[in-house]
Symmetry: C2
């Protein structure tokens, strides 16, 4: 099965395609460079061509033509994924959907939109027209697309209240096109949503999305300073545990993150200050202050509706989730990060904080999980090579921490190292030739893979030096 790129391209020549090599290279990349491991493996990747469909019909055309000529198709939205989700391991076609950015319907509690809409634009229009907003957004919301968030994200700003993106009720409906000789258009709800949510576009192309909404309050952004990491962590947990205090974000940044990497915060903290970044509904500020007063320490150093700084720090959520690492990377380009789940066990967090103090700076995000809470860790990791990172991951796992390894480009390795049977089954049905984002689903290529080392997709484009 050799792709006939030229034939597919010719068949699609009436569509909007990018011709400039620089644009093609640029549109073949995402935020994979968060990881030195992925940077080494994926930096050379490039699509053969980039197409920008404007409608579901055009998507179907692309899928049909590429199916016919055996050309791989990798979906891309805003390109803010940092697991290399949107990068074409085997080249072929990269399909950009940011041109499919219409809002189709706004109702009380829900919105129907196209996948390519930039989340910030969606939220701005939702607030303006209906006083509503998405329940949760990635910290990259000014660049990320809605479809990309669903296909490649797992939660974010808002998860402190609403849980993870794949929790029941956080996505209402997905319309999906298959990659068959005659592509089918399917509407998924309920359990079926899990076939394609967080599947990196490996088994279908999302063309329409219905999401639940929450009221858009004028969230109060705050930074709260603590002397100890434990106190900051305990406060963030206690805040998220109050059912009557409505919050959207509860981040914890261990010292010296704020002083070292948060440029506009630097003047207001010392090297040893630990910080919480929180978003609180205005009508929950009394409850917030009351809770904070119950803690011995905890000093509000910034409050968007009151305490002003000479230089506006911007939205507090742009310090949380993946933006914490992003800000650090601006200062030290060799830094990296991990993604850890500690559950609700603060003692385990403290153990990790002490054990790994030479390797990383702790960064936590509180999420609702089931009936309780879970702390997600996105620590900033000091420069380490692959072997060092693998060792650090193993040490976390030994401690009982679940790692979603962000130094891997496959679904399984970035997840729970096991087949997602629903995704795999649907790929069999929807992508019989295995052309959708190839190499990202191990269990499709190599069901017996043993996870003893990083998976290396056999069909990956050769690196330039190897190709010479």
């Amino acid at each position: 099965m050799k792709p006939n790129v030229a034939a597919a391209k010719a068949e699609l020549s009436h569509l909007d395609m990018d011709e400039s090599p620089a644009t093609i290279r640029n549109k073949s990349r995402d935020f994979f460079w968060y990881s030195p491991v992925l940077k080494a493996e994926m930096d050379h990747l490039e699509a053969d061509f980039v197409v920008n469909p404007k409608s579901e019909d055009e998507i179907i055309e692309v899928l049909k033509a590429c199916y016919k000529h055996d050309v791989p198709v990798t979906m891309r939205g805003g390109g803010t994924g940092n697991y290399g989700q949107a990068m074409p391991l085997a080249g072929g076609c990269v399909m950009h959907v940011t041109g499919m950015n219409k809002i189709k319907e706004i109702g009380l509690g829900y919105v129907v939109a196209e996948p390519g809409i930039i989340i910030k634009e969606l939220d701005t229009e939702l607030k303006e027209k209906s006083g509503q907003e998405l329940r949760m957004v990635p910290s990259t919301y000014s660049q990320a697309s809605l479809g990309g968030f669903i296909a490649g994200g797992s939660g974010g700003v808002g998860s402190a209240n609403w849980g993870a993106l794949r929790d029941l009720g956080n996505i209402n409906r997905l319309r999906v096109v298959t990659m068959e000789e005659e592509p089918r258009v399917l509407d998924f709800t309920g359990e079926e949503l899990h076939r394609v949510s967080h599947a990196y576009g490996t088994n279908g192309i999302i063309t329409e999305i219905e999401m639940p909404l929450a009221p858009a309050y004028d969230w109060v952004d705050l930074f709260v300073r603590f002397d100890t990491f434990r106190a900051a962590t305990e406060f963030a947990g206690a805040l998220a545990a109050e059912p009557g205090i409505l919050i959207k974000l509860a981040s914890v940044y261990a010292a010296p993150i704020a002083h070292k990497y948060f440029q506009r915060v630097k003047a207001h903290v010392s090297e040893s200050d630990h910080l919480c970044g929180v978003m609180v509904a205005p009508h929950s500020m009394d409850g917030f202050k009351t809770l904070l007063d119950r803690f011995d320490e905890g000093e509000v150093i910034y409050r968007s509706d009151d305490v002003k700084w000479d230089r506006h720090p911007g939205p507090v959520f742009e310090y949380g989730w993946n933006h914490t690492t992003l800000r650090a990377l601006k200062f030290e380009k060799d830094l990296t990060y991990l993604q850890v789940r500690y559950g609700d066990d603060i003692e385990k967090i403290m153990e990790a904080y002490e054990t790994f103090s030479n390797d990383l700076y702790m960064h936590l995000e509180v999420m609702r999980e089931g009936a309780g809470l879970s702390f997600a860790g996105l620590p900033i990791v000091k420069p380490l090579d692959k072997a060092g990172l693998d060792k650090l991951v193993a040490a976390h796992e030994k401690m009982g921490c679940l790692i979603f390894n962000p130094h891997r480009y496959t679904l399984e390795e970035g997840g729970r190292q096991a087949a997602d049977q629903r995704q795999l089954d649907f790929k069999r049905e929807a992508d019989p030739k295995g052309l959708l984002n190839p190499g990202k689903m191990i269990t499709w290529d190599e069901p017996d893979f043993d996870y003893s080392d990083m998976y290396s997709y056999a069909g990956i484009l050769p690196k330039p030096e190897a190709a010479e």
Copy 2:
């Protein structure tokens, strides 16, 4: 200190007062008759006079005159409390505030209103004018006043999502008038709220209330049938534990409650059917159905937006919370109830279900509590006298269940059998003569009371037979 009722009455004669003995008797009563014990103790109680102030100024006049003439003042809203909260143990003045029913301000996320407003009227206007509603309401919301809910309630419909009324953030501000020679008007927020919330009006009179609001969705009412009580309980818990499924109510009615006491449900269930009553946001129905499908049993027999019955059952929340007992009492006037907290321990609930199967029918309400959930029990108890009820309470406590005894008229016995120091301290300051709702705060009258038996207020009006 002998009250001079005539003098106080004369001083207040320019205010709206009730003269008819039937009205005075009627306005001196609440839903105390839920309890056979309270019925025996309190049935004869009657105010000397009833005054209906229309403003804070008039309230101050009443408090000043009654202070001057040593006349007890008991506050009353809609009279739906079932701990005898609004009943004048020592006679004197009952102050009805349902005339103080203005909405003063509606903002995004909050409302400012007078205490006498009927909650249903408040919610109706809130929804109409702003698309919002109170976070939680009592099942008696069509009769209950907002001030009465705060002074005498603890949670209700909405607690499945927002927790208890006294949780941080669920009341924003209370304006309170003291009963001193010169009454003071105080604004309470934060920790100060606990001085007067759920204090039965024993230490100040609430004259203005600021409450947080939630979006008013067109909640879908459902009844879901189960073969076993365990399955119904597990489903209700699982539903409330899903952060992405927005609900307002998750009630569990063990068999044969629905068949025996829910007139319009009877035709749709058998004697052995256990029922859940739930309210789900329309945009969470997909999540709800998906969750229900994960349970082996669980059949939707009523859905307000779809499955219709010949005879409309009315709002599902009017089957939950205190309404469950209320409906049973319409059939068997000697029944009564308990208020039990099981925490999140379903095995303890099952143990109680089996142990007490001869004494009661289980009825549960799921609430959010801290980072988790708690099951509140309001079981329907078969006719028992005081001794029998005391034995049943003791058996629950032995099992490790917390009881809020609804067969007592004092704050302490209906709560955790201990002084609420904040309430007591504030009473010292705000009601130096002890005239506000006397006899309801044991620690004011008798700090060394040992709770070995029911408290009996020394100043209670003598029963007619005793008076003869």
